[in-house]
């Protein structure tokens, strides 16, 4: 198994783990963290795919750098919504999940 395959499989596993966290976690901050795991796993999968052609291809790398920055700004926005929600509702879980769960 080549190193590229190893990293691609790690990326796909990270995507799966992130999705599980997104679904199973109740605390909204944990969900945002899990969402970042998905993104980061996707970048790794994409980067490994882009490196298959032999020489390191700069186009996927540039797209991934763009993606990392956009992911941070999306996370900052999500966190802002979460803080606003917690301020209004006094809870950090979604209303439909408040009853014990």
């Amino acid at each position: 198994m080549s190193a590229l395959t190893l990293y691609a499989l790690t990326g796909s596993a990270a995507i799966g783990i992130g999705f599980y966290g997104l679904i199973a976690a109740r605390h909204l901050l944990r969900r945002i963290v899990a969402f970042n795991l998905i993104g980061s796993g996707l970048f790794l999968f994409f980067g490994a795919t882009g490196a298959r052609g032999g020489a390191a291809d700069p186009v996927p790398q540039a797209l991934i750098i763009t993606g990392i920055v956009v992911a941070l700004s999306a996370s900052a926005l999500a966190v802002g919504l979460l803080v606003a929600h917690a301020r209004v509702a006094g809870r950090v879980v979604l209303p439909e999940e408040e009853d014990g769960g």
């Binding site: 799966g16 795991l37 186009v59 920055v69 996370s75 926005l77 803080v83 917690a86």
Partner: protein, 305 residues
């Protein structure tokens, strides 16, 4: 030997990812996420993508980690933390396992890539990633710098009316002589030097506006969190100029390309090197300021409560 290193690194990444999702406590989950980001940066070095590794370490692990940690502190003040990591969710686990399996299948099913030798056309810079970011795919980068602005505007819209005009974020209280106060004095000079260097060498070596700008943003954040500088007021005009400097310089350069006949956002080769450097400096300033403001968050008028 290198194979053993790769295998160990991947195992560590997956173990830390599991700990992030399944561990008890939100704080622990965030700390594991930061470790995960740093390990991911090492993986990018192994994939020969040093530019991405710098971005992942600075943004993915560093700034995102600070963002989550400050949010955790902010939430802990008025919300009781429920540490329980949700019950085990069998259907979700099966579905996510299936997703991972499908992606793995896709990797093996993809047709073998055509190996070809190619060279980038002259772009005015030596670093191919910078050439793609600021010349060949300049559209993406321009729109990305605008996405950053849009996210900041969205975040500021969540400020309460009574807080508008205050200083950004929460007021910081730092214990004199504590760790934060010490780091706040030690790190910024070194970080500033590293950030400026990364922007400067970005044309020819790994680095550039995004990586350098992020390091500069980290310097600003450390100084603000250590209470050494007070964050600006949300309506300060000078800082708004800094926010739009990068996209404006980029747009002007793009229009100049159109006027010179090369086409919008196409930099003609003789001046491309200089133009890219100017754009990078402008972008780095805007990225640094925008990221600091994004992580600090809108004003939260503490003292009124």
């Amino acid at each position: 030997m290198t194979w053993a290193f790769d295998a160990a690194l991947c195992a560590l990444i997956l173990g830390v990812a599991f700990a992030t999702v399944l561990g008890r406590g939100v704080f622990r989950s965030i700390v594991f996420f930061i470790v995960y980001g740093l390990l991911m940066a090492v993986a990018w070095v192994r994939l020969d993508a040093v530019d991405v590794a710098l971005a992942e370490a600075a943004i993915g692990a560093g700034l995102t980690g600070v963002l989550f940690l400050t949010t955790f502190g902010r939430l802990a003040r008025n919300v009781s933390d429920d540490a329980a990591p949700g019950r085990f969710h069998l259907p979700a686990a099966l579905a996510c396992g299936g997703l991972t399996g499908a992606l793995a299948w896709a990797w093996f099913a993809m047709p073998a890539p055509v190996r070809r030798e190619w060279e980038l056309p002259p772009a005015g810079v030596e670093n191919p990633v910078t050439a793609v970011l600021l010349n060949f795919r300049a559209w993406d980068t321009l729109l990305e710098s605008i996405v950053l602005l849009a996210a900041l505007i969205g975040l500021w819209m969540m400020a309460r009316d009574g807080d508008w005009g205050d200083r950004l974020g929460l007021p910081q209280h730092v214990r004199p002589g504590g760790v934060m106060a010490g780091f706040g004095r030690l790190l910024p000079p070194v970080g500033f030097l590293v950030g400026v260097y990364l922007v400067y060498v970005g044309a020819d070596q790994p680095g550039g506006a995004f990586q350098g700008g992020t390091v500069l943003a980290a310097v600003g954040l450390v100084a603000a969190l250590a209470g050494l500088v007070r964050p600006p007021r949300i309506a300060a005009h000078r800082w708004r100029v800094a926010l739009v400097a990068g996209p404006s310089v980029f747009l002007v350069a793009g229009l100049a390309g159109a006027v010179l006949g090369a086409g919008f956002l196409t930099l003609p080769e003789p001046v491309a090197g200089t133009a890219i450097f100017v754009i990078e400096v402008g972008l780095a300033i805007s990225i640094a300021v925008t990221l600091v403001f994004l992580v600090l968050g809108p004003p939260e008028g503490e003292r009124r409560e």
